[in-house]
């Protein structure tokens, strides 16, 4: 993919704060508290994935930042601009791809993308819009009405609309919901390309694989509270569990007494022993693997094969959002 999405010149260096959310809360009419004093800083040029179960407050948080929902308390700044007091400057920097496939059904792709650019006060630039449509493989469909497009194509149109005014921050609310596997991977590539060009990406997703694949940092929201914000790799190291599975040469009826300190699990068929340890301990000293292998030798337990497996982000996520 070429540099089709180049945003407006980015003044500050990558990695500096782009969005500051400070004590944002939201209570809807009727009393439902969707957000409870959420504070978060999102850095320029990163891909931040916001995870959480349905109704956790992800879309509410995005909607408050983008101006679709009024916060009950707290402040949001985008590149230093308050999103209420200085809303024009803040919103100019933001592109939003909503969760629902919305749009003027009778408009053509070209008209709707041009409309979006004009709405954000940008001068006409057909060459730029053409680059976007080509990059999103929409150029051939530019004269088609939105109602005639497939779901995947409509999703691309929404991305094209969000990019039409060259935003520095792009919000993707469930960007690949209902999209087939091939298209999902294409979209991941599009997001990576955007990040490479300096666009800050904030995405919410139900697909943990998506966050695992793309995110630099991950935030987990549960019942309106941000329960965790961490770099993805650190999160997986810290909270991930590892398993060492040993395929035995001869089946065992039970775990030998001498191996009790290692809390091993014997598979149902007695053919494998499973040893669990913290991934943060690594594979070397501290994991207890070397000691375990020595103890197995001394106990006369022979194995033919061994392999390790790290718990996925999905397993970490489930453990984080599990109700106490």
């Amino acid at each position: 993919m070429t540099t089709a999405f180049a945003p407006s010149p980015i003044q500050a260096a990558l990695g500096t704060p782009m969005i500051r959310i400070d004590g944002v809360s939201k209570t809807y009419r009727g009393g439902f508290q969707a957000l409870k004093e959420v504070s978060l800083t999102i850095n320029r040029g990163e891909i931040f994935a916001l995870l959480g179960p349905n109704g956790a407050g992800k879309t509410t948080l995005i909607s408050i930042i983008c101006g679709l929902v009024n916060a009950s308390g707290g402040t949001v700044t985008v590149d230093g601009h308050d999103n209420v007091g200085d809303y024009r400057a803040a919103r100019e920097l933001i592109g939003l791809v909503p969760q629902e496939l919305t749009g003027e059904a009778f408009s053509t792709v070209w008209d709707t993308v041009r409309f979006s650019r004009g709405l954000f006060g940008k001068p006409r630039d057909d060459a730029y819009l053409e680059r976007i449509l080509r990059a999103l493989t929409l150029w051939d469909k530019r004269n088609n009405r939105l109602m005639a497009l497939s779901g995947g194509m409509k999703r691309r149109v929404l991305i094209a609309k969000a990019l039409s005014h060259q935003p520095q921050v792009l919000f993707l609310d469930e960007p690949t919901a209902g999209v087939d596997v091939e298209l999902r991977r294409e979209m991941w590539q599009i997001v990576r390309d955007l990040r490479d060009e300096g666009v800050t990406i904030i995405l919410t997703t139900h697909y943990i694989e998506e966050a695992e694949e793309m995110a630099d940092r991950i935030g987990v929201i549960r019942r309106g509270e941000l329960v965790l914000v961490k770099e993805k790799q650190a999160l997986m190291r810290q909270l991930g569990r590892k398993e060492l599975t040993l395929q035995l040469k001869a089946p065992l009826a039970s775990v030998p007494e001498a191996l009790a300190p290692y809390h091993l699990t014997l598979s149902e068929d007695g053919q494998a022993l499973i040893y669990r340890y913290d991934s943060s301990a690594g594979n070397g000293e501290g994991s207890g693997i070397a000691e375990l292998l020595g103890a197995l030798r001394e106990a006369g337990v022979r194995y033919s094969d061994l392999h390790t497996r790290q718990s996925s982000l999905e397993e970490i996520f489930v453990s984080l959002v599990k109700e106490p």
């Binding site: 679709l68 009024n70 024009r88 919103r91 939003l96 629902e100 919305t102 004009g118 006060g121």
Partner: protein, 253 residues
């Protein structure tokens, strides 16, 4: 002011008119022609002059006002309701545009379409009856101000409505009856005294009267009363729209 955004909204709304040319322009022209055939030619020939004006010519301002009110309300209400209905409103609310700019874009486009249709109706009427316009500038003034005022009302209805039924409710149950009973087809002096008094509570009477005055120099109420009533409508409309955006009513939870 984000003039590019205003222009974009305005042109996008007018483009909708272009896309739906048949129902937007042709059908109001046909319906106006039918009014002239029925009321002007068939019934009108049996009615003597009203205040020195032939009946066919007398109903022209009322018919134009009927079209102006219904089209202003319908166009503006649909214009803002449809993105709410489809969910596309997110783009408007997240764009760097002020509430005033949004209103100018939508109401401006609806008023433009209504004025254009009013002028087309006027041209259509001139094919049926000889027309004279005593105060053309006042006529345009009434045309534009009424279109803007009722487009504001339509905008409010479009935000208030929860579905297509509600969208039709106010135009069908309120605007059309008030217009028919607002002196479109008769002068107030043709009514019994009691109903003359009741009719004065109908705000459309003042609009039709002022508009008719700009044509023939005659009206059921004074010019000042007509101007005052439009002014009151306008202020109420602006006030309501201001409240809607300030409170986020049906737009921002």
């Amino acid at each position: 002011m984000n003039l590019k955004a205003v222009r974009t909204l305005y042109l996008a709304e007018l483009a909708r008119t272009k896309r739906t040319m048949l129902q937007s322009i042709v059908s109001p022209v046909i319906s106006t022609s039918l009014y002239f055939v029925v009321f002007g030619a068939a019934i009108g020939t049996r009615i003597s002059e009203v205040a020195g004006v032939s009946y066919g010519a007398f109903i022209v301002p009322g018919l134009i006002m009927l079209m102006l009110l219904t089209q202003s309300v319908a166009t503006a209400s649909f214009g803002i309701f449809f993105p709410r209905f489809s969910g596309a409103i997110y783009e408007l609310l997240s764009a760097p545009v002020s509430y005033a700019e949004i209103v100018i874009g939508y109401v401006g486009a609806a008023a433009t379409k209504a004025v254009a249709l009013g002028l087309i109706a006027l041209a259509t009427a001139s094919l049926f009856v000889p027309l004279e316009i005593a105060h053309p500038l006042w006529m345009l003034f009434f045309l534009v101000l009424t279109a803007v005022t009722f487009s504001l009302l339509g905008f409010i209805i479009g935000i208030w409505a929860d579905g297509f039924e509600q969208l039709q409710l106010v135009p069908l149950l309120i605007i059309t009856p008030l217009t028919f009973l607002g002196g479109t087809f008769y002068a107030l002096e043709m009514l019994p005294p009691f109903w003359q008094a009741v009719t004065l509570f109908n705000p459309v009477v003042y609009l039709v009267s002022g508009f008719r005055w700009s044509f023939y120099g005659i009206g059921d109420v004074s010019l000042a009363a007509s101007l005052g009533m439009i002014g009151v409508f306008l202020v109420i409309g602006i006030g309501l729209v201001g409240w809607i955006f300030k409170s986020g009513y049906r737009l921002k939870p």
